[in-house]
């Protein structure tokens, strides 16, 4: 399929433009934030002379476009610049925080797909029956609860009342894998909303697919029920769900910020919030590049999956 090749190329190009746009937007917004790194660093001792000195030390007295140009030039040879707040390279921020976030997001996605799809198929199989109503009601209910509230609830119940799991990941540093128990609650919180939306989508898709003539045809020809559901109906329910999965990236980012703060996980979300508070523009930009790239790559992946499962449909680039 050469069409696929050119489609992917167009898609990649769009991804590049998206990333650039995200970076520019973020730069503009960070520049427009009231106060700068110097003011933020001066804190409650805003001695004007001190602020001016800090500003000079940080090179903030140079015009914004010059700093952007420098930064972009550095980016071309993978140099993300140095943090205004500490003078350490931005890459060290990113690499240090990438691990925990990747672990959280990766675990979430790895669990999200089987759990979301499984629940959706289960509900669709028993459409209108007790199981379906139960799954639908629970997913709807959990979907309506924002992460922060859900996190507080889980911690209160499972960590503080029942004492089954550690309430935070304090002190575990980046080596979270060595403390799997500390990952349970954060991943559960991150999973909550995406699982609900995914399972609802899969359920709807499955109900349509199960009622379709081709599924009736497969049944008619004696294909066992489970095989009909998973091998013949499910692929058709996956295409819209795959698109949703890509949009989940956005949620994961929001969720990661909340979850990292709630459970004290030193990941990208924490770095982001600190950097915004410190007006540490290079770090914010570095993160924007990373987030932009991740979003673009995952969107691309999801589109590919959708392309695979809905080969007929023209997937909009």
């Amino acid at each position: 399929m050469s069409g696929l090749g050119s489609w992917a190329a167009r898609r990649l190009l769009l991804g590049g433009v998206q990333t650039v746009a995200v970076v520019l937007l973020v730069f503009a917004l960070t520049e427009a934030l009231p106060g700068d790194a110097a003011v933020a660093l001066a804190g409650d001792q805003p001695d004007p002379a001190r602020i001016a000195a800090i500003r000079e030390a940080m090179d903030l007295d140079r015009p914004a476009y010059e700093r952007l140009a420098d930064w972009t030039a550095g980016l071309l040879h993978a140099d993300f610049g140095t943090s205004l707040a500490s003078g350490r390279p931005v890459t060290s921020y990113l690499s240090g925080a990438f691990g925990p976030t990747l672990l959280l997001a990766g675990l979430t996605v790895v669990l999200l797909v089987p759990v979301g799809v499984g629940l959706g198929v289960l509900a669709a199989r028993f459409e209108g029956r007790l199981v379906d109503r139960l799954v639908s009601a629970v997913t709807l209910g959990v979907y309506a609860v924002p992460e922060f509230a859900f996190g507080v609830l889980l911690v209160t119940v499972f960590a503080l009342r029942l004492d089954w799991l550690p309430p935070t990941a304090v002190g575990y540093g980046t080596d979270l894998l060595a403390h799997p128990a500390a990952l349970v609650l954060p991943v559960l919180v991150l999973l909550s909303r995406p699982v609900c939306s995914l399972s609802r989508l899969v359920r709807a898709g499955m109900i349509d697919a199960l009622a379709s003539p081709y599924v009736a045809h497969a049944r008619r020809y004696g294909i066992p029920g489970a095989r009909v559901r998973y091998a013949h109906a499910l692929p058709n329910a996956v295409a819209p769900a795959a698109q949703q999965l890509a949009r989940t990236v956005d949620w994961l980012l929001c969720g990661v910020i909340v979850v990292e703060a709630l459970f004290v996980i030193p990941g990208l979300g924490t770095v982001l919030m600190n950097a915004v508070a410190e007006r540490d523009v290079p770090v914010v930009q570095g993160l924007a590049v990373v987030f932009g790239l991740i979003t673009v790559v995952l969107n691309l992946g999801a589109d590919l999956v959708a392309h695979r499962f809905a080969p007929r449909a023209e997937v909009a680039a």
Partner: protein
């Protein structure tokens, strides 16, 4: 079979045992009997045809053999089939092909159910072997490559053969074929007839649900004529054809008079619509149609004949202003028509009207039919709403659609009624050229005949009207005064209808006319031979 003896052999009577049997089947939905006391025997190697207009209950009867009933149906009577499963060939094979899976997926799953007894290790190659055999039997060579394709990458004919292959692979003793030839051109129909005949030749009982009488006549051994859920007449096909007992059968079988030579004599007036140097594209670079010269004269009916994919619909849409990516010109009274509808003024918009193949899809499902029809007069003739409604009502009545029906939403009207309404909608513009795109192809024989008569009447009554009939069907093309034959986007032949149909010049036209004649000959020949 639950009954005595096994299927396939011969019973005590010496008669072959039925592979499927329906006795006193009654299907009731919402208090209405859609099938009422139907009995039927399907013999191995024989083709049993159910004919009747749409809504006569033939599809419900056929589906009953598959063990499928409409939701909420109350069913009485018994349906028995040989213990092997029943194969099914739907009218649109694409609907039963899973769009998200490769062609091989379902075939392998079916084959797997066949090879359960084998040791685990041997199952895979055995299944593969069986699949390839079945594909070959269904006249699908190069099976390996085919298995890796997606359904949308296959042609319609391949899809249909694929569905047949599935039935063969299943080891079906009965195959139900639902309208396999409806809407197909002569070449395709002949091919389908061959395929189904081959299936029957394998000792499989074929149940053919069709309103394509020519196909039925060419293929069937037994025929059951259905009307309103009941079998009004049954018997060997030659008997039914030769001596139809029931008046409905007679009406169904009545042979249409070939259109009297409608070509008017005398000097031909200047062409109303003329196409010059038309080259139409779909996507950039993909040219689908080349028409150097084509003209439609007043009072004339031009048939554009071609198979699907020949570019005939694109031509129609270029004329109507619905397809805009073309070079060359479409001239109305010698003046070029703008490519886009938006740029055609009210008069020119009204002058060329278009009737869609899928009448149902061409109506807004939320508004009553009458309202929608009347809008033509409002928009294109500037008539007040009340006046327009009256005009619409008159036109609809003249086309045989009552005010009561017209006041309904489109969903409550039948396909034939909607097609009439669509015609009325176009006629209300008082067009000079009416482009009809395959408007009869989805309809059953009786309805289609009615519609064609209507068109013929229009031509007679309105001197200023000319028709462009887009069709794959030679029968329909007989209505025309002139015929243009399209193949692969090229006009391969055009001329007076009689000449084209009786003495085709281009090899493609020749093959088209021949297969149609062959089909007819075969059915009559069969009848003759069996008599």
């Amino acid at each position: 079979m639950n009954g005595p003896g096994e299927s396939g052999g011969t019973g005590e009577t010496g008669e072959p045992l039925a592979v499927a049997e329906i006795e006193g089947l009654t299907v009731e939905v919402g208090g209405r009997h859609i099938v009422d006391g139907v009995s039927l025997r399907v013999l191995p190697g024989q083709v049993t045809a159910l004919v009747g207009a749409s809504g006569s209950g033939k599809t419900t009867t056929g589906r009953a053999l598959l063990g499928e009933f409409p939701p909420g149906a109350r069913v009485e009577g018994s349906v028995r089939v040989a213990d092997a499963l029943v194969g099914y060939v739907p009218q649109h094979p694409a609907t039963v092909l899973n769009p998200a899976r490769r062609v091989g997926a379902l075939l392998h799953d079916i084959a797997r159910t066949q090879v359960r007894e084998l040791p685990r290790r041997d199952r895979r190659p055995a299944a593969r072997e069986q699949v390839l055999t079945a594909l070959e039997a269904a006249q699908l060579p190069d099976g390996e490559a085919l298995l890796r394709r997606y359904p949308h990458q296959l042609s319609g004919g391949q899809q249909q053969r694929l569905v047949l292959a599935q039935a063969l692979l299943l080891g079906a003793r009965v195959v139900v074929a639902d309208e396999p030839t409806t809407g197909q051109d002569a070449l395709t129909r002949r091919r389908v007839v061959d395929e189904l005949a081959a299936v029957a030749a394998r000792g499989i009982g074929v149940v053919l649900l069709s309103h394509d009488l020519e196909t039925v006549r060419a293929l069937a051994d037994e025929v059951l004529v259905m009307r309103d859920g009941q079998v009004v007449e049954a018997g060997p096909v030659e008997r039914v054809w030769r001596a139809p007992a029931h008046p409905w059968t007679r009406q169904l079988l009545a042979v249409r008079e070939p259109l009297a030579d409608a070509a008017r004599q005398g000097p031909r007036p200047e062409a109303v619509l003329r196409v010059q140097g038309l080259r139409a594209r779909h996507r950039p670079g993909v040219e689908v149609l080349r028409v150097p010269e084509l003209a439609v004269h007043p009072g004339e009916c031009l048939a554009v004949l071609g198979r699907s994919g020949s570019g005939k619909t694109t031509l129609a849409r270029c004329l109507a202003g619905l397809h805009r990516t073309y070079e060359g010109e479409v001239l109305l009274d010698g003046v070029p028509l703008p490519r886009s509808l938006r740029d055609r003024g009210r008069d020119r918009l009204a002058a060329v009207q278009y009737v869609f193949q899928d009448a149902r899809a061409s109506f807004d499902e939320h508004r009553p039919v009458l309202d929608q029809v009347a809008r033509t007069a409002v928009r294109l003739r500037g008539v007040a709403t009340s006046e327009a409604r009256a005009a619409a009502s008159t036109t609809l009545n003249s086309l045989g659609l009552s005010d009561e029906s017209a006041a309904r939403l489109p969903a409550l009207l039948s396909g034939g009624e909607l097609q009439r309404a669509a015609l009325a909608r176009a006629l209300l513009a008082r067009p000079r050229v009416l482009v009809c795109d395959e408007i009869t192809s989805g309809l059953d024989t009786v309805t289609r005949r009615g519609l064609l008569d209507l068109l013929a009447g229009l031509l007679r009554d309105r001197d200023d009207l000319c028709l462009v009939l887009i069709t794959h069907d030679l029968d329909t093309a007989r209505l025309a005064t002139r015929i243009a034959v399209l193949d692969g986007g090229e006009v391969v032949e055009q001329g007076p209808a009689r000449d084209v149909l009786t003495a085709p010049a281009h090899p493609f036209t020749v093959s088209l006319v021949q297969s149609s004649e062959e089909l007819a000959a075969r059915s009559s020949g069969r009848l003759a031979g069996q008599v």
